[in-house]
């Protein structure tokens, strides 16, 4: 077994037992990244101070004051600020931007002694489901390099799947952790909205954004989540600390008519996994979520409205890509047109349309009301069941360039949207594979539970993976 095959938990055990040191592990990862990253483009930058950080972590382990993540390497999505490091959101707009402070999640990981390996590729400003919308080229799926890793946190997913990191941070506005986890065969967790501080996460849709982990085991995902979570004075939407009980029963609700939108092969794998869970003592019941099909269109109203607002600050004046023009307005317009890529421009225009006078009531107000209806529908379902399960994405990884039409790309997130709109926690875990072009490609099952019940998701996820 290679050092790069070990989980975060196994690394901590190995450090404690003096089987290997942090510098050994970091060297192994840096070598593997050098060999494999050119094929995948998972990392945009590998940090040159990783070896120095490894030495510091090793000293802490020797002193006996280690946290379970001390010396554990981690990859970070390129929209999460690490003081003094470049952070570009995979955009030409912020290509040369240097973070001036640590995101709260990063600060917590630094306190724990984790070692940052580098920043990972993503769809520009986290807008996309394939990582093809990066200004720095697409990331490729380690299971088949002709295919996408999913997105928008595709670089983080590809890095963990290819063993270029044991764990990674991603961020999710709608499916951007769970869908790439599904397409790359990983565990991906989207916490309850407000569980993890958004301070230092480059904003996309502020009422939806949430940072979360990628890992190869449920235990590792849980460890990262428990390290980065918590109320933060720098993010007014973070929740007071909450304790989570155990699930009230072992009922898993399946919204059958909604699940029908998945590809036939995905549904076969999904049903097989449900049967397996029934064998483990879970009770699988049919539920109705009549508003679920409206979640994605509602999301494509709320999100662009928030995008056009959040990205208004990027005008090339104080930082970011700047183009000289005839006058100030001309400079704004040229800097923004040149700095933003096509998908970002598309969503800004769409958001501006949705928020236009006369359309506000028809779109934004209606979509916001729909969020409440969806949340109420879900709450009704949770009166009888503890979990709701669907496939994470309609199908396995698709080919690079396959979904050129924006709406076909948006449909990748059909099953993700309800959890994001209602602020619920949700986890994706591998459920099996689907064959495409002679390759077995991973697909994931996702579970959702009520707000503030994140821990119960880890327990059903462990049972699904057969993890102790």
């Amino acid at each position: 077994m290679e050092l790069t095959d070990l989980t975060a938990r196994a690394l901590a055990d190995g450090y404690k037992a003096k089987q290997f040191s942090v510098p050994d592990v970091i060297s192994a990862y840096l070598q593997r990244i050098e060999a494999e990253n050119p094929k995948l483009n998972a990392y945009l930058e590998v940090f040159d101070d990783a070896r120095a950080a490894a030495t510091v972590a090793q000293e802490r382990i020797v002193r006996g004051t280690a946290h379970p993540l001390t010396g554990v390497p981690i990859a970070v999505k390129d929209n999460i600020l690490i003081n003094g490091k470049r952070v570009s959101a995979a955009s030409k707009m912020l290509e040369n931007y240097t973070a001036t402070y640590d995101a709260t999640a990063i600060k917590k990981l630094k306190d724990a002694g984790a070692v940052f390996l580098g920043r990972t590729n993503m769809d520009e400003f986290a807008m996309g489901s394939s990582t093809e919308h990066s200004a720095f080229g697409p990331t490729r799926n380690p299971h088949d390099t002709a295919r996408v890793p999913g997105g928008s946190s595709g670089g983080s997913a590809a890095a963990v799947a290819a063993h270029l990191a044991p764990i990674a941070l991603g961020s999710e506005t709608c499916g951007s952790i769970r869908q790439p986890a599904s397409l790359c065969g990983l565990v991906g967790f989207k916490p309850t909205y407000g569980a993890v501080s958004r301070s230092g996460l480059i904003a996309m849709g502020s009422s939806l954004d949430q940072i979360g982990p990628f890992a190869r085991t449920v235990a590792d995902a849980e460890l990262v989540f428990n390290t980065i979570r918590g109320c933060d004075p720098l993010d007014g939407t973070t929740l007071e600390d909450y304790s989570e009980g155990v699930a009230k029963n072992k009922k898993i609700g399946v919204p059958r008519s909604f699940v029908n939108d998945a590809q036939p092969e995905t549904k076969v794998v999904f049903e097989k996994k449900l049967t397996e869970l029934a064998g483990k003592g879970y009770d699988i019941v049919d539920i109705e979520l009549p508003s679920a099909p409206y979640a994605l269109p509602a999301y494509y109203i709320v999100m662009p409205a928030e995008v056009s607002t959040n990205l208004a600050r990027l005008d090339g004046m104080r930082y970011g890509h700047h183009v000289d023009g005839m006058n100030l307005l001309d400079e704004y317009k040229k800097s923004r047109a040149e700095g933003f890529g096509p998908e970002t421009r598309r969503r800004i225009i769409l958001g501006t349309y949705i928020l236009s006078s006369g359309y506000y009531d028809a779109y934004y107000r209606r979509a916001t009301a729909l969020r409440s209806i969806i949340a109420a529908d879900l709450a009704r379902a949770y009166e009888t069941v503890s979990y709701i399960a669907t496939p994470t994405a309609p199908g396995p990884a698709f080919k690079i360039g396959e979904k050129a039409d924006p709406v076909s790309m948006y449909l990748e997130d059909i099953f993700s949207a309800p959890a994001n709109l209602a602020g619920l926690p949700s986890i994706s875990v591998p459920m099996g594979t689907v064959a495409r072009d002679g390759k077995d490609l991973p697909v994931g099952i996702q579970f959702m539970t009520p707000k503030r019940t994140d821990a119960t998701l880890f327990s059903v996820a462990r049972d699904t993976l057969g993890e102790a």
Partner: protein, 97 residues
């Protein structure tokens, strides 16, 4: 309702994006197709008294309006990224005629 070329030109102006005629036309067809998709929200009846937000469990956070750090504490890090500067000042194009 179809999105027109003039609509997109106006939206580009409001969004402060300098777009070519070709891009405007491409965006017109794309935005039109996306708007047809999101129009699905018009089909679902909204009951009376629906909650205005799914995040009603979050309370507003207030704090005193005071300076939270010493003056100049972050100035150097921030001004270092100005595209054009004059000392600690950000230099921009003339604003008033």
């Amino acid at each position: 309702m179809a999105v027109t070329t003039d609509d997109v030109k106006k939206l580009a102006e409001l969004s402060r994006l300098a777009l070519s005629e070709g891009e405007i036309e491409k965006l017109r067809t794309e935005i039109d197709s996306i708007v047809s998709y999101i129009d699905a929200v018009q089909k679902i009846p909204l009951p009376e008294g629906v909650a205005p937000s799914p995040h009603l469990d979050i309370t507003n956070v207030m704090r005193d309006d005071v300076v939270a750090h010493e003056g100049q504490a972050h100035s150097d890090a921030l001004t270092a990224q100005f595209p054009d500067r004059d000392g600690d000042y950000l230099r921009v194009k003339k604003i008033l005629g």
